[in-house]
Amino acid sequence: MTPETVLNVFIDVNILLLVACLVWTTALAIFPFIGLKSTFRTQLFLLNGSIGAIILYPVFVYLFSGWASQNSLNISDLVVANYLNGNFQMDAEQLESALGFREEIVREIVSLKSFATQILVGAFAIISAVLFSRLLYQGYQLWAQLKDSYLLKRIGNIYILVSDEISIPYSTRDLTRRYIVIPEEILTRQLDLKIAITHELQHFRQKDVEWEFFLEALKPLFFWNPVYYIWCAQVRRLREYACDQIIVNRSPYGIRAYCECLLRTSRSQSKSNRSRHIRLPSVALVDKCNSDKSKRSLLRKRILMMTNERQNRGSKLVSALASISVIGIVFTTSVLMQNPKDWSHDRLMLSTIINLERMNTINNVAR
């Protein structure tokens, strides 16, 4: 695998993230009209599915790029075909340099010839290394916190631990075990204890802990991409909405008791000076961020969502169609983005036009 290939994959993933974000934003606008407005579990599945499609894109490209190349199904050939059909006006040389822009960038970064590129790549490497070290440190902190906690109960491979260092319950995992860590003071509030454990168990069912680990692991590579932060915020918001919705619908505690538990937990975090305000790779009952304002705003939104009038379940068929559409768009884009293996007939035509224009210019100068 050459450095060019690695860089190309990296660029592809970033572009696909942007495409997935645009598709997702469009889907969010359409959801109310197709009865999927309050179907948070489906929305979360869709969001995670589109990201899963990005991870699997090399497989898809490997399977379909040959066929796509034979049929000139790639963005550059489609643009050239439209240009030759006169669908848009542009200088031929400008068009070719635009089409070769990405290749030029990749060459420039890999060769590290210019000082600016060296600075850019150096800064990226340093920030990535710092973020990666931070990730390892957070992992160590988490391990230490689990080690210092006390076992309350074990359900299969889920260990419910009690910690006197935290004020917000959270769930996390290692390679083999899953953990729900609850603050010691919550032991004195039976209902809150039950609600907290139910909430964290639901996060396990939704595989939210695994997704959270995945999000955190991507940070050292995608820290510079704003779409990554938008995606993280969306996933974190949706997983709480989905979890709240399921618990409120299924559990016997009722919305009021559940919301009050969230409020009490949030208040106890604000009051507590013992808890460590370091974001560990985990999923918490209420947001563990340092900013009171953003914490309040997410909590407020969650309570508003739960107390919304009627929440429909949405049709399974519509959900399936929406999922196929979103994931299909991501896959299709990944194939269309690939460079053609050979120049197509249209591309040769473009090159001929450029050469003729050049010859024309030289002849004019000679005259």
């Binding site: 230490a144 006390y150 009690v162 032991l187 004195t188 013992r274």
Partner: protein, 131 residues
């Protein structure tokens, strides 16, 4: 690096349990639960976990009897009060207990009775030091 965990001081919940243990002298989880102030509707497992935490922090020791564990404190309430005050004095009053007392006396919320109690305590301590 990660701060070393301070196990010498009790959390609010642990203090509630220790107060109950100090009140009964020694007892089982259920006996301690009955003496909690304010009374709480606790699950036995929750109370038992807190007692085990206290044992692991070495504030309690347990002896296994036929039916259950009997817990007894390893530290007197007065000793713990001193330790807490020393900690408070060290952390908040730069190791100058006089500042701590001055702060207490300056506090407008101190009633005449409380002030008289402090005065009596001071007299007692001074007498002890003299002898």
């Amino acid at each position: 690096m990660r701060q070393k965990k301070d196990n010498t001081l009790l959390t609010e919940v642990e203090l509630e349990f220790m107060n109950a243990v100090w009140a009964v002298g020694k007892g089982t989880v259920r006996e301690v639960m009955r003496n909690l102030s304010p009374p709480r509707e606790l699950a036995y497992t929750s109370a038992s976990t807190i007692m085990r935490i206290l044992e692991q922090k070495k504030f309690l020791v347990s002896i296994k009897t036929e039916k259950s564990f009997v817990y007894s404190p390893t530290i007197d309430k007065a000793d713990y009060q001193s330790k807490t005050l020393q900690h408070l004095s060290a952390k908040l009053f730069n190791n100058t207990p006089s500042s701590l007392v001055a702060r207490l006396v300056d506090d407008e919320n101190l009633s005449d009775d409380a002030l008289q109690e402090i005065r009596d305590l001071l007299d007692r301590r001074l007498r002890t030091n003299d002898t």
